[in-house]
Symmetry: C2
């Protein structure tokens, strides 16, 4: 069977299964997820053996340490997959939730009720735990899911797929509800992206290259973010101690993630009092600074920034720094170079806080808090499947609710239109 | 300037204007819409003259009477455009509405606030009033809009565009906020669909051919429905008088629209008592019936339906009729041939009503009411810009709220992530 035929069959099976999964009771869905969690813990040994095959291959191919690290499945990783599933079990089921209901003058009762999206395709890279996380969230929201992990994780993902499918089988749920693409081949991704008759949504997660490939080739709606070029703007009226804590946290706490700060903007009235001391703390943490000319004057150890630094997503201990003459300058800089992901202001001024919240276009806009809070769990949404900077449907973290849509229901007693 | 360059310039102007429009006060937006309404009434004579040029051309080209009818702008049509705008003025502004706000354990206040989508492209066919309706809704929701009407309405749309732009100018709003594509050429549509850097959403309205063309060629997310193959299912337990009124209304009241019934499904236990009488009423109304073999036995005047009838959207006084042996049969038929648009059941049974609401996948599912209620105004949403059977973002009528999205706002007092 060709790759295209394999994928086509998977998509058809998913569409068929989606109809079943869409009307499952919450109990039934939770039971299946619990069964997956149990089996993960029971089969720790097998999972690690299969993962070892991927790791050996990765070392042979000379993948970077960071890649090998992301690929590695330890006891701890398996336990966290099981815990993650149990967290999803504990979340309320969005399906069936009536988000509003109202009465029309003619007596019709009109409401909106949450329903699953249908079939979701998830395309991601190294981490095998994404297989479990994504399957758990999609199933809980009543969707079927087709998972396509990185080719370097093919053995790990295959054993996880087998575990998921057995758990589904044992719970009486069609196995088409959660499938892993068994072909470690870009042709498989391409074929998946053409199944618009069967699939409702594609979520790619990974490097900008993968995501652009998906967007270019998909006939199915895609929710994604390309990158996170997040700013902290330290206003003229900022509490400078607070600004320092937030800037440090946003850059240093976990520099390799999309909600880390990549550019620090400082109002000129705060720059002299703020930047040299802030730079000292960054230096201690090993952060390389790339500054505008005014920054470099105040912070001699900063390198001169080039035009390439302002749109850069370093994902590393590197930070661009710019002094701006006004809040307008900050907002304009963000509009030009930001990625609509996460933007923060540190200010003590009520009006400026309101203005920043209103005028800055990003999926999460914060006042006096670290950019690192753009995360489903941190915002109180529960587990998430990714962050969207596409405005349609979901803007920001995509949690259970974003894996559903609403339909209208109308309860009448014989109404006709006149 | 080439078509591509013209469109590119329009898209850039729209993107620039969108930033301004997104933060306009409700008063200002309403003021602009009121100015458009006033100017429409002031310039009735000019509008009709320009429309006459389109009509002359249409008659020359031998367009159908129905087409010419849709194209015709009378005093009444102009008045209804103005009234439509005033109805939109009266609707609450969705922008800035906080749809929810909650407190996190660390003291962060997290909320979701409605924001405009950005730049919307509207691609439609004959009716020039769509130009005004769409511009009104998009502007009220804080979006910029690029309108591309049918080439046959080019003179009418151009004068309407000039009126809109003058009204915007007089209100101090950039003219890029609502533009009409001046080129009556499919190349213009194609060029528009490639402006993904500037545009956030495309809404096509019209025949299936146009919509498929848009979906095939768009790099921008599209919300659309291809067609409305809507069913009324008369259950075993239906009140047959009610079933007759609803079926008649769904087919006959306005057969040329997407929410009209195209197939009637009747439970075999109701068929003998229901179908012959119902058929008599349809006959009086001039409805041609195409029945399954069992229908034809009970209704001798019905023609034999072929496989082509079940997925057909007649948009005419033609109706497919099928007797089903069970509710399962009805639900399966709808799943196979329905278009996820509008589906209705007539029943007196509580459990069957609940099951139909839960299991039938359509943007609007009704119990004991006519399919003709799938309409923004009828459902209480106010004016709409179209009906979506795409599940993502909006499923059903797209009113003001569906022309917005939400971003997260986070109010802190120095929170960092640990």
């Amino acid at each position: 069977m060709s790759v295209e035929e394999t994928i086509r069959d998977m998509a058809l099976a998913a569409k068929k299964a989606a109809k079943v999964v869409s009307v499952l009771s919450t109990d039934k869905k939770n039971q299946a997820l619990e069964r997956v969690a149990e089996k993960l813990l029971e089969e720790t040994k097998t999972i690690k053996e299969e993962n070892e095959r991927d790791l050996a291959h990765a070392r042979e191919k000379g993948l970077s340490d960071a890649m090998v690290d992301r690929l590695t499945v330890t006891d701890g990783v398996i336990e966290s997959m099981a815990t993650g599933l149990r967290d999803v079990i504990a979340l309320p089921d969005p399906v069936g939730c009536v988000t509003g209901m109202w009465l029309r003058p003619n007596g019709l009762q009109v409401g909106r009720v949450r329903i699953p999206l249908g079939v979701i395709g998830m395309i991601y890279e190294a981490r095998p735990n994404a297989t479990i996380d994504a399957a758990g969230l999609c199933l809980k929201a009543g969707n079927a899911v087709i998972l396509r992990g990185g080719s370097e994780a093919i053995h790990s993902n295959s054993v996880l797929a087998r575990i998921i499918q057995q758990a589904l089988g044992e719970t009486g749920i069609p196995e088409g509800a959660a499938q892993v693409v068994p072909v470690p081949d870009r042709a498989a991704v391409k074929a998946l992206l053409l199944q618009e008759e069967c699939m409702d949504l594609i979520i790619p997660r990974g490097g900008e290259g993968l995501i652009r490939f998906v967007v270019e080739n998909s006939k199915i709606p895609v929710l994604k973010h390309y990158k996170g070029v997040c700013h902290v703007y330290v206003d003229r009226t900022a509490d400078l101690h607070m600004a320092e804590e937030i800037s440090y946290n946003a850059k240093v706490q976990r520099p390799g993630v999309c909600n880390a700060m990549e550019t620090l903007l400082v109002h000129e009235a705060s720059a002299e009092a703020f930047l040299p001391q802030m730079a000292g703390r960054f230096k201690t943490a090993g952060v390389e600074l790339r500054g505008c000319p005014r920054t470099c004057k105040m912070v001699p150890e900063a390198k001169q920034a080039t035009e390439a630094d302002w749109p850069a997503e370093y994902l590393d201990l590197v930070l661009a720094v710019k002094v701006v003459s006004s809040m307008d300058g900050a907002i304009e800089h963000i509009a030009e170079y930001g990625s609509a992901h996460t933007e923060a202001i540190v200010t003590s001024d009520y009006n400026r806080a309101r203005r920043f919240l209103r005028e800055v276009d990003a999926s999460v806009v914060l006042v006096n808090a670290s950019t690192r809070f753009n995360d489903g769990g941190e915002l109180g949404l529960g587990a998430e499947i990714g962050i969207s900077t596409t405005k349609l449907h979901a803007y920001g973290p995509m949690a259970l609710e974003e894996l559903t849509t609403t339909k209208f229901i109308v309860l009448g007693d014989g109404q006709i239109r006149t």
